[in-house]
C-alpha cells in the first residue's frame, strides 16, 4: 500500500509543478482569486454562516468588486475545515483564507506555510457543553472516563481542552474522538458520544440533547479567527489585496448594523445550521460590534499568543511559531481610514475588556 500511494504521489509531482490553477496573468492582475473557508454547510454545501467574511460570499460583495476587471473569484469550502485549508494552501490552491481558526492557523505556520494575517474574522460569543437528552450527567465531572467528541485539528479542539481545564479536568480524563459537525450531530442523537461543545438550541427544541453548562462571553474560551493572504499573492498584487480588504471591511460594517441582524441570520441559516441556533446564540450580543470586529487589537494578539502556548503545551506543534512578519495590518488600517471607520469598532485589551469603546452610533 505504501509503495502504491507513494508512486501515485510521485506521479502527481510534475503535475503540481506545472499547476494550471496557478493562473497569474502578467499584467499585475490575477485572472482568478481563490478564497477558502475552513468549513462548509451541512452535508458539504458551499455556504459558511456565522461571520462577516461569510457574508461577503453570501452577498456576492467580492465578486462584484472584481467583476469589471474580469477577475473570477473561486470560492472554496472545506468540510475538512482548517486542516484541509492548510493542505490546499500548501498545494498552492488557495490565495485567501476567510476566517482560519487558531489551531490550524498555528499548525500551518509551524510547518512553514507563509501567509500574512490581514484582520480578525470573528470573536467572542457563548460556548455550551451539550450531552444527549437521555444522559444523567449534571456537570462535566460526571462525564469522566466517558467519550467526548471534537473535530480534532480545528479550533474546536482547543476550545474543548479549555473547557476541561476550566473545570480542573484534562483531556486524559476522557476518551476524545474526532468527528466533524455532521457526524457529531448524528452521534449525539444516537448516544454514541457522551458530550461535546456546540450550539444547543435547535437540539433542545427537538429533544435530542441538552446543555449542562454554558460560558457567556468568556474571552478565554474561544480565540478570534483570522483572515489571511498568501505571502506570494500579497507581494505580487498589493493593490488587489487592498481592494479586497476594503470591500471586506465594508461588509463587516454592514454586518454590525442592527437593521441587518435578522437578515444575516437568515442568510447564515442557508448553510444548514438552524436559524434558531444563530438567533439564540447572538441574543446576548446587544452590540453586534462586540463579535463582528476585524481589528488586530491587543486582545487578538494575546489570544493567538495564548493559543500558541497551548499548542506547545499539548504538543500539537513541533516548531516555534511567533509573530515575526506574520501580521500585516497596513491594509486594514488603510481601509478603516478610507471608510472613516477608524474609531468605529471597540478595542479590547489583553483580558478582553473594552479598552477604547467604539464610536457612538448615530
Amino acid at each position: 500500500m505504501k509503495r502504491r500511494t507513494f508512486a501515485a504521489a510521485i506521479g502527481a509531482a510534475p503535475l503540481l509543478a506545472l499547476n494550471p490553477l496557478r493562473a497569474f496573468a502578467a499584467d499585475g492582475k490575477p485572472t482568478t482569486i481563490r478564497i477558502s473557508f475552513p468549513g462548509a454547510g451541512t452535508g458539504g454545501r458551499p455556504v459558511q454562516g456565522g461571520s462577516f467574511p461569510g457574508n461577503s460570499h453570501l452577498l456576492r460583495a467580492i465578486d462584484e468588486e472584481f467583476k469589471e476587471d474580469g477577475i473570477k473569484i473561486e470560492w472554496k469550502f472545506f468540510p475538512g475545515a482548517g486542516p484541509a485549508l492548510n493542505e490546499s494552501f500548501a498545494n498552492g490552491l488557495t490565495d485567501f483564507a476567510f476566517g482560519h481558526g487558531d489551531l490550524p492557523l498555528i499548525v500551518g505556520r509551524s510547518t512553514g506555510l507563509k501567509h500574512k494575517i490581514l484582520m480578525s474574522s470573528s470573536r467572542g460569543g457563548n460556548s455550551y457543553f451539550v450531552v444527549p437528552a437521555a444522559s444523567s450527567a449534571k456537570a462535566l465531572v460526571d462525564l469522566k472516563g466517558k467519550r467526548l467528541s471534537t473535530f480534532k485539528g480545528t479550533a474546536q479542539q482547543l476550545t474543548l481542552y479549555r473547557w476541561l481545564d476550566k473545570f480542573g479536568l484534562t483531556e486524559k480524563d476522557f476518551r476524545i474522538i474526532s468527528l466533524d459537525a455532521d457526524s457529531t450531530l448524528a452521534a449525539l442523537s444516537t448516544g454514541d458520544i457522551d458530550g461535546t461543545v456546540r450550539a444547543p438550541f435547535d437540539l433542545e427544541a427537538r429533544g435530542v440533547a441538552r446543555r449542562i453548562a454554558e460560558l457567556k462571553d468568556d474571552p478565554y474560551i474561544s480565540t478570534p479567527g483570522s483572515v489571511w493572504v498568501g505571502e506570494e499573492f500579497e507581494k505580487k498584487y498589493p493593490a488587489i489585496v487592498q481592494r479586497l480588504v476594503t470591500r471586506l471591511i465594508k461588509v463587516a460594517y454592514w454586518s454590525t448594523q442592527e437593521a441587518n441582524r435578522e437578515k444575516q441570520f437568515q442568510l447564515w441559516s442557508t448553510s444548514g445550521t438552524p436559524y434558531l441556533d444563530y438567533k439564540k446564540d447572538w441574543e446576548t450580543t446587544a452590540d453586534l460590534r462586540n463579535r463582528i470586529n476585524p481589528l488586530l487589537d491587543e486582545y487578538y494578539t494575546t489570544s493567538i499568543q495564548r493559543s500558541i502556548e497551548e499548542t506547545k503545551k499539548y504538543k500539537l506543534i513541533r516548531r516555534e511559531v511567533n509573530f515575526d512578519g506574520w501580521l500585516e495590518p497596513k491594509y486594514l488600517n488603510n481601509a478603516l481610514k478610507e471608510l472613516k471607520l477608524e474609531d468605529y469598532w471597540p478595542q479590547q485589551d489583553a483580558q478582553g475588556k473594552i479598552k477604547v469603546p467604539g464610536r457612538k452610533r448615530t
Binding site: 505504501k2 492548510n86 493542505e87 500548501a90 498552492g92 510547518t111 474522538i177 474526532s178 454514541d192 506543534i317
Partner: protein, 285 residues
C-alpha cells in the same frame, strides 16, 4: 533476477577445483547465498523508491508540508517508539485484529466445513452466503454504524466480516478439491466421521485453509485501518488521521510503514506455521 542466476554458476566452477571436504561447505553455503541474493533483489525496488523520495524532497518537487523527508519519517518512527506511543497504538490495533480473527476464523471455518461436508447445509446456506460474500466491507459500514454504534463493536464486527468470507470460501474450496478416491480409501478402512475429518479432510484441505487464513489476515489489516479512520481515539489508523489533521505527514508515513511491516511479519509467520504443519507432504514426495 540476474544476480540470482549468475550465482550458481560461480559455485559450480569453484566446486570442481575444491576438495571434497570443502565441497560440503559450499553446498551448505549455496542456498544461503541464494537466499541472500534473493533478499538483495527484493530490496532493490524499495531502495530505488527511497532514493527517488529523497531526490523529490531535495529538489522540492512537492511542498515540504505534503512530502516529508525520509530522514524525518525515520526520526519520527524512532521518537514514537521511544515514547512508547507506537507500541500502545499498535497493541490496540493488534488486539482489534486479534479478536476479529478469532471470531471471524471460527465463524468462517464453521461455514466452510458446514457447506463442504454437508449437502443439506450447502443447499440451505450457500446461495445466501455467495450473495452476502459479494458485499465489500466498506458497504457494510453504514448499516453497521446503525446497529453497532461507533465504538469497538463497529471495529470488531467490520473486521470480522472481512475475515469470515475468505476463510469460508477457501475452506469450502479446499474440501471440494479433495480427491474422491481418498474418501473411498477411508470407506474401505471404515473410518468414523471424526477420523475422516482429522485424517483425510484436514490434511488435504490444509493448503487451501492456510491460503484463506493469509487472505483473512491481510483483509483484516486493510479493514482495520479503514475503521480506525472513522471514529477512533487510538490505534495505528487513528495515528494516521491525527498526523494529517496536524499537518504532520511523517506520522502518516510511519503508520503506513508499520502496517506494511506487520503485514509482512504476519505473512511470514503463517507461512512458517503452514510449512511446519505440512512436513509430511514434503517427506511423502
Amino acid at each position: 533476477m540476474s544476480v540470482i542466476s549468475t550465482d550458481p554458476r560461480i559455485f559450480k566452477s569453484s566446486r570442481i577445483e575444491t576438495k571434497p571436504a570443502r565441497e560440503l561447505n559450499t553446498r551448505w553455503l549455496q542456498p544461503v547465498l541464494l537466499q541472500l541474493a534473493r533478499i538483495a533483489a527484493a530490496l532493490l525496488l524499495p531502495a530505488a523508491l527511497l532514493v527517488l523520495w529523497q531526490v523529490a524532497v531535495d529538489k522540492q518537487w512537492m511542498p515540504e508540508q505534503i512530502l516529508p523527508a525520509p530522514g524525518l519519517v525515520w526520526q519520527t518512527l524512532l521518537e514514537l517508539w521511544e515514547s512508547g506511543d507506537l507500541q500502545t497504538h499498535l497493541l490496540i490495533s493488534a488486539s482489534r485484529v486479534g479478536w476479529s480473527l478469532l471470531i471471524g476464523t471460527t465463524v468462517g471455518l464453521l461455514f466452510g466445513f458446514g457447506m463442504g461436508l454437508s449437502r443439506t447445509v450447502k443447499a440451505y446456506v450457500a446461495p445466501t452466503f455467495d450473495v452476502v460474500a459479494q458485499f465489500p466491507v466498506l458497504g457494510w459500514i453504514p448499516i453497521l454504524i446503525i446497529f453497532a454504534g461507533i465504538d469497538e463493536a463497529l471495529k470488531i464486527s467490520a473486521i470480522t466480516i472481512a475475515v469470515v468470507v475468505p476463510v469460508a470460501v477457501n475452506t469450502l474450496k479446499g474440501i471440494a478439491n479433495i480427491p474422491r478416491n481418498l474418501f473411498e480409501v477411508a470407506k474401505v478402512y471404515r473410518f468414523t466421521g471424526w477420523q475422516v475429518v482429522f485424517r483425510v479432510v484436514l490434511p488435504s484441505a490444509a493448503p487451501s485453509l492456510f491460503n484463506g487464513l493469509r487472505q483473512a489476515v491481510m483483509q483484516a489489516w486493510l479493514t482495520l485501518v479503514f475503521v480506525e479512520l472513522l471514529a477512533s481515539s487510538e490505534g495505528i489508523g487513528y495515528l494516521m488521521v491525527w498526523g494529517r489533521q496536524l499537518a504532520q505527514l511523517d506520522l502518516v508515513m510511519v503508520g503506513m510503514l508499520v502496517i506494511g511491516l506487520v503485514g509482512v511479519v504476519l505473512d511470514i509467520a503463517l507461512r512458517l506455521i503452514e510449512a511446519h504443519l505440512q512436513r509430511w507432504r514434503h517427506s511423502a514426495f
